[in-house]
Amino acid sequence: MTEGNKTRREDQEEFAEARASLMKITLGPLIWALHFVCCYGVVAVTCAKGWDYGTVRAGLLIFSAGALGGIAVVGWAAWRQWDVSHTADPVNRLGRAEDRYHFLGHAAFLLSIISAIGVVFVTLPLVLIGGCQ
C-alpha cells in the first residue's frame, strides 16, 4: 500500500469494515418488501375470509405510515453517513476507506428514497379502492 494510506491510519479505523455491511443498504427496500407483502397478504386473507375490510384498511394505513417513518429513519442515518455537505464530494470515486463509507451512505440514501416512493405507490390502492370486489 502507498504512504498516503498510512498517514490516514485513524480514518481507516474510524471507517472500519467491522461496522459496515452490505446488507445495510438494503434496509429501505426490505421495509418496502415487508410492507408490500403484509398489505397484499392481509388484504388477500381479509377478502377470502370475509373479515371486516374497514378495520383492516385502517390498520394497514397506520402500518404504511409506520413503514414510511422507518424508511425516513433509515434515510436520515444514510444521509448523515453520506455526509455530502462536509465532504462536498457526491461521487466518492476513490478507493479510500472514507470514500467507501460515504458511498454506502449515499447508496442507502438513494435506496430509501426509492423505497419511500414504492411504499406510497403501494398504499394508493388502499386509499383509492374501497372494498374487495
Binding site: 500500500m1 502507498t2 469494515e17 459496515a20 455491511s21 452490505l22 443498504i25 438494503t26 427496500p29 426490505l30 418496502w32 418488501a33 408490500f36 398489505c39 397484499y40 388484504v43 388477500a44 386473507v45 377478502c47 377470502a48 375470509k49 461521487v91 466518492n92 470515486r93 476513490l94 478507493g95 479510500r96 476507506a97 470514500d99 467507501r100 458511498f103 454506502l104 449515499h106 447508496a107 438513494l110 435506496l111 426509492i114 423505497s115 416512493i117 414504492g118 405507490f121 403501494v122 394508493l124 390502492p125 388502499l126 383509492l128 379502492i129 372494498g131 374487495c132 370486489q133
Partner: protein, 834 residues
C-alpha cells in the same frame, strides 16, 4: 517495493511455473478443463446453439402464420413449437447466457485467476448441456411439452404423454445448475476481488452480478418448489392443483410468476451490466452517477419481486390486490428509467465513438424504450384486460426481450470478443448484421401490436381470412426472416476462421477496467500477478499498472508448489485474507453431471430403479470430488503472497469461501421451503374445505418426538464442532455418531406421523406429506454430511486446526433444523389453529 524490478530469470521461472499449474488439458482431455475461460466459452456457445434452435422454431411458427388457414404444421405440432420456443429462449438461452458470460468475464474484471469453485462451474455446465439437449431434443420425437412456457394446470397436469414431465424435470435440473452458478458468481464477487477494490470502486458489472445472483436465489426456488408439487401430482396423483380434491391451479400461477417476473429482470439486468461496461469506454469518461446505477440495480432487484400478479390480472383476484401489483409495476419504472438516464448522461457529456458495440447498444435502447412504454400500458389492469393473451403481448414481450437482452448481449459479444478470442470481429459484417436484425425486428414485431389490438389471440395455430390480420401476419413473417438473415451474418462472423488476422492490440477499445490487462497471445493463468487497485478505472488512472502486472510485481506472481491459487479478500474493503487453492481439471464433474442427469431424466419415463441408482452414483461422485479436492490440509499454514505479505492457506467458517457458498445455497433452499409453507397457507385462505371436514391429522405425539430429535441432532452437530475446535476429538466423533441417529430418528418420526394419511385423497394430507418428504430428504443429505465429517476426523482431513468441513455442515444443519421445526409446527399445531 512495487518499483523494485524482478530479475529477468526469476520472472521467467515464475511465469513458467504458473503456466504449468494453469495449463489447459490437451487432446480429448480438453473436456476435463475447468478454467473459467474454457467453461465460459462452452457455456456461451451452447446457449447460443439452443437460441438458434429456438429461433428456427420461431421461423416455423411464423411460416405457419404467414397466411390464413395454413396447414404447414398441425395444431399439436404448433403447440409444441411455441411452448418449446418460449421455454428454450427463457431457460436455455436467456438465464444461462448471463451465467455463461459472467463466468467468462468476471474473473478478468476482478483480476482474479479464476472463479472460487471452478469445478462447480464445470459441473453446472455439464448439467446444463445434458438437461438442455434432453428438453430441446424432445421436439424431434414429437413428445415436446405443449402447454405453453408457463405450463398452467389443469391443462399441463392432465396432458397425456411425457411432455409436461420433460419440461418439469428437465428444467428443474437446469435450474439447480443455475443456482449453483449463481452461488459461484456471488461468492466470486464478494470474496475474489483484487486487494484494494472496495465495494465503491468495483466495476458496475460486479454490482449487477451481485444483484442478479441474489435475485436468482430468491426467484428460482419458488419455481423449484412448484415443480416439486407439480411432479408429485403428475407421478403420484397428489392433487395439489386439482380443484376437485381441494387443490388449486392458482397456486401454480403464483409460484410460477413469483419466479417469472423477476426472471424478466434477471434477464434484463445483466444486459444492462454489459452496457454499463461499454458506455464509459465509448464515451471515454467514467460512468456518470455510479451510485445512481447501483441504486437502480438494487432497487429494480427488489421491486421486481412485487410485480408477479400483473401476469394474473385476468384471473378474478380482488381488484384491490390487483391495485397493489399495478402500483408496484409502475414504481419499478423509476429505477429502470434512472439507469437509462445515467447512460444517456454519460454519453452526452463524453466524446462518443460510434463503435460497433455502441451501435448495438443504441439499437437496444431504442427497442427497449418502446417495450417499456407498452409495459407501462399493460401494467394498468383495465388496459391489460383488453390486450391479455393477444399478439399485443407477443409484441411487448419481444420488444423488451430483444431490446433488453438480445441486442445488449450481441453488443457485449462484439465488445468482449477480443478479450475472449484474442481476435477482432468484422466491422463491415457487424454493421450488416445490425441493420438487418434491427429493421427485421421492427418489421416483424411492430405490426403485431396492431394485430393484437385487432383481436388476434396468441398461441393460435391458424386463423380465418377476412379479419384484417392477413397482411399484418405476412409482414411479420417477412420480418422474421430478415432477422434470421441478420443473425446468420452475425453467427458467421463469430465462427468464421480468423487465424490469418494479425495479432490484435491488447486493449483495442482503450477501456479502463482490469479485464483488458489480459495476455495476447492467450495465457491460461488469468492474470500474471494480481494487482492492487485503488480506482474505478485502473487502466486509465494508473498507466504503469500493466507493466507491473506483466513483470509479476504484484501479488501471487508465482506457483511455487505447482498448485492453482487465487487471492481471497474481505467482503467490503477487499483486504487480502487468504491464498485460496482452487481445483484443476478432472473427469469427476462429468461423471457427477451424467449421473445427476440420469436421476432427473429417468423419472420422466417412470423408470424409478435406474433413477435411484443414478442418484446414488451421483452422490458418490460428488462425495469423492469433495473429499479429494476441497478443504485440503495444506503443507504449510501460511505462504508468501508477494509484496511482503504472508497469508494463511486455509480458512474455516465465515472466513472461507466454502462457508459463504453454503450460506448462500441454503438461503435459496430456505426460500424453496418457504414457498411450500406458503402453499399450505394459500390453500387455507383459498378454499373453504381446508382442512376438509373429518380429515385425519398428523399424529401429534410423533410430530413432537420429531421436533425433539431434530433439536437434539442440532445440538450434537454444533457440539461436535465446538469440541473438535477445543481438541476433544474423541468427544466430537461421539457426537458425530449419535447426531445422525437423532436426525434419522427425527425424519422417521415425521414421516410416520403422516403415514396414516392418504395423500391422493385430498390436498390437505398431500401437502403434509410434501412437507415431511422435503424435510426427510434434507435430513438424509445432512446425515451423509455428518458421516463425511466423521470420516474426515478419522482419516486426518478434519482436525481441530483444519475444520472447515464441520463448519459448513453445522451451517447446513442450522437451516435444516429450522425448516424441520417449522414443519413440525405446521404439522402439529395447524390442525388446532385452523
Amino acid at each position: 517495493m512495487l518499483a523494485e524490478p524482478v530479475a529477468r530469470d526469476i520472472a521467467e521461472a515464475q511465469a513458467e511455473r504458473l503456466r504449468a499449474a494453469w495449463a489447459t488439458p490437451k487432446g480429448w482431455r480438453y473436456v476435463t478443463a475447468v478454467n473459467n475461460t474454457e467453461v465460459g466459452k462452452w457455456y456461451c456457445l451452447t446457449a447460443l446453439v439452443f437460441m438458434l434452435l429456438a429461433g428456427v422454431m420461431a421461423l416455423i411458427i411464423r411460416l405457419q402464420l404467414a397466411v390464413p388457414e395454413n396447414d404447414l404444421v398441425s395444431a399439436d405440432r404448433f403447440n409444441q413449437l411455441f411452448t418449446m420456443h418460449g421455454s428454450a429462449m427463457m431457460f436455455l438461452f436467456a438465464v444461462p447466457m448471463f451465467e455463461a458470460i459472467s463466468i467468462l468475464l468476471l474473473p478478468g474484471m476482478l483480476g482474479a485467476r479464476d472463479m472460487p469453485f471452478p469445478r462447480l462451474s464445470a459441473f453446472g455446465y455439464w448439467c446444463f448441456l445434458i438437461g438442455g439437449i434432453f428438453v430441446i431434443g424432445s421436439i424431434f420425437f414429437n413428445v415436446a411439452p405443449r402447454a405453453g412456457w408457463f405450463m398452467y394446470p389443469p391443462l399441463a397436469t392432465m396432458d397425456e404423454g411425457p411432455g409436461s414431465d420433460i419440461w418439469l424435470l428437465g428444467l428443474s435440473f437446469i435450474e439447480v445448475a443455475s443456482i449453483a452458478a449463481a452461488v459461484e458468481l456471488i461468492v466470486g464477487t464478494l470474496k475474489c476481488r483484487p486487494p484494494g477494490m472496495r465495494v465503491n470502486i468495483m466495476p458496475l458489472y460486479a454490482w449487477y452480478v451481485l444483484v442478479v445472483g441474489g435475485m436468482i436465489l430468491f426467484a428460482f426456488p419458488p419455481l423449484i418448489a412448484g415443480d416439486f408439487l407439480f411432479e408429485l401430482e403428475r407421478s403420484f396423483d397428489w392433487p395439489f392443483f386439482d380443484p376437485t380434491r381441494g387443490g388449486d391451479p392458482m397456486l401454480w400461477q403464483h409460484l410460477f410468476w413469483i419466479f417469472g417476473h423477476p426472471e424478466v429482470y434477471i434477464i434484463f439486468l445483466p444486459s444492462i451490466a454489459i452496457a454499463a461496461m461499454v458506455v464509459p469506454t465509448v464515451a471515454r469518461r467514467p460512468m456518470f452517477g455510479y451510485s445512481w446505477i447501483v441504486l437502480s440495480a438494487v432497487g429494480t432487484g427488489f421491486l421486481s419481486f412485487g410485480l408477479w400478479v400483473h401476469h394474473m390480472f385476468t384471473t378474478g383476484l380482488p381488484s384491490i390486490s390487483l391495485g397493489f401489483f399495478s402500483a408496484a409495476s409502475e414504481a419499478v419504472v423509476i429505477p429502470t428509467g434512472i439507469q437509462i438516464f445515467a447512460f444517456l448522461a454519460t454519453l452526452l457529456v463524453g466524446r462518443v465513438r460510434m463503435t460497433l458495440p455502441m451501435l448495438w447498444i443504441s439499437g437496444a435502447l431504442a427497442i427497449f424504450t418502446m417495450g417499456g412504454l407498452t409495459g407501462v400500458m399493460l401494467a394498468l389492469a383495465p388496459f391489460d384486460f383488453q390486450a391479455h393473451d393477444t399478439y399485443f403481448i407477443v409484441a411487448h414481450l419481444h420488444y423488451t426481450l430483444f431490446g433488453g437482452m438480445v441486442f445488449p448481449v450481441i453488443a457485449g459479444v462484439y465488445y468482449f470478443f477480443p478479450f475472449i478470442q484474442k481476435r477482432l470481429m468484422s466491422e463491415r459484417l457487424g454493421r450488416w448484421a445490425f441493420w438487418l436484425t434491427f429493421s427485421g425486428f421492427n418489421l416483424c414485431f411492430l405490426p403485431m401490436h396492431l394485430t393484437g389490438l385487432l383481436g388476434m389471440p396468441r398461441r393460435v395455430y391458424t386463423y380465418p381470412t377476412g379479419l384484417g390480420w392477413d397482411w399484418l401476419n405476412l409482414i411479420s413473417t417477412v420480418g422474421a426472416f430478415v432477422i434470421a438473415a441478420g443473425f446468420s451474418v452475425f453467427v458467421w462472423d463469430l465462427i468464421r476462421p480468423k487465424h490469418r488476422q494479425p495479432q490484435i492490440p491488447r486493449n483495442p477499445w482503450d477501456a479502463g477496467t482490469l479485464e483488458w490487462t489480459h495476455d495476447v497471445p492467450e495465457e491460461a493463468w488469468g492474470v500474471r500477478s494480481i494487482p492492487h487497485v485503488s480506482t474505478r478505472y485502473p487502466l486509465w488512472d494508473e498507466p504503469q499498472m500493466l507493466d507491473r502486472i506483466d513483470a509479476g510485481r504484484y501479488y501471487l506472481p508465482d506457483a511455487q508448489e505447482g498448485k492453482r491459487e487465487t487471492l481471497v479478500t474481505s467482503v467490503i474493503d477487499a483486504v487480502p485474507v487468504q491464498v485460496q487453492r482452487v481445483t484443476g481439471p478432472t473427469w469427476i464433474t462429468l461423471w457427477a453431471a451424467g449421473f445427476t442427469g440420469g436421476a432427473f431424466i429417468f423419472p420422466t419415463f417412470h423408470w424409478y430403479p435406474p433413477a435411484i441408482l443414478c442418484g446414488v452414483l451421483a452422490i458418490c461422485c460428488i462425495i469423492g470430488w469433495l473429499w479429494t479436492a476441497t478443504a485440503q490440509v495444506p503443507e504449510a499454514d501460511s505462504k508468501d503472497a508477494g509484496l511482503g505479505l504472508s497469508l494463511p492457506t486455509y480458512a474455516a467458517g465465515p472466513a472461507s469461501v466454502g462457508w459463504w457458498a453454503m450460506w448462500i445455497t441454503m438461503l435459496g433452499d430456505a426460500t424453496a421451503f418457504a414457498s411450500l409453507v406458503f402453499g399450505f397457507f394459500f390453500y387455507w385462505t383459498a378454499s373453504p374445505d381446508f382442512p376438509p371436514a373429518g380429515a385425519l391429522h398428523p399424529e401429534a405425539r410423533l410430530v413432537g418426538l420429531a421436533a425433539l430429535a431434530f433439536a437434539a441432532n442440532w445440538a450434537l452437530t454444533v457440539g461436535a464442532r465446538w469440541l473438535n475446535r477445543r481438541s476433544h476429538v474423541g468427544g466430537a466423533r461421539l457426537c458425530l455418531i449419535v447426531a445422525p441417529l437423532a436426525a434419522a430418528g427425527g425424519a422417521t418420526a415425521l414421516v410416520w406421523s403422516v403415514l396414516s394419511l392418504d395423500p391422493t385423497s385430498h390436498v390437505y394430507p398431500a401437502i403434509h406429506w410434501a412437507l415431511a418428504v422435503w424435510v426427510a430428504v434434507h435430513a438424509g443429505a445432512g446425515v451423509i454430511m455428518q458421516f463425511y465429517c466423521l470420516a474426515g476426523s478419522i482419516f486426518g482431513k478434519l482436525t481441530p486446526r483444519y475444520d472447515a468441513d464441520i463448519w459448513n455442515v453445522s451451517l447446513f444443519w442450522h437451516f435444516v433444523t429450522l425448516s424441520a421445526l417449522v414443519t413440525c409446527a405446521v404439522l402439529g399445531l395447524a390442525p388446532e389453529a385452523l
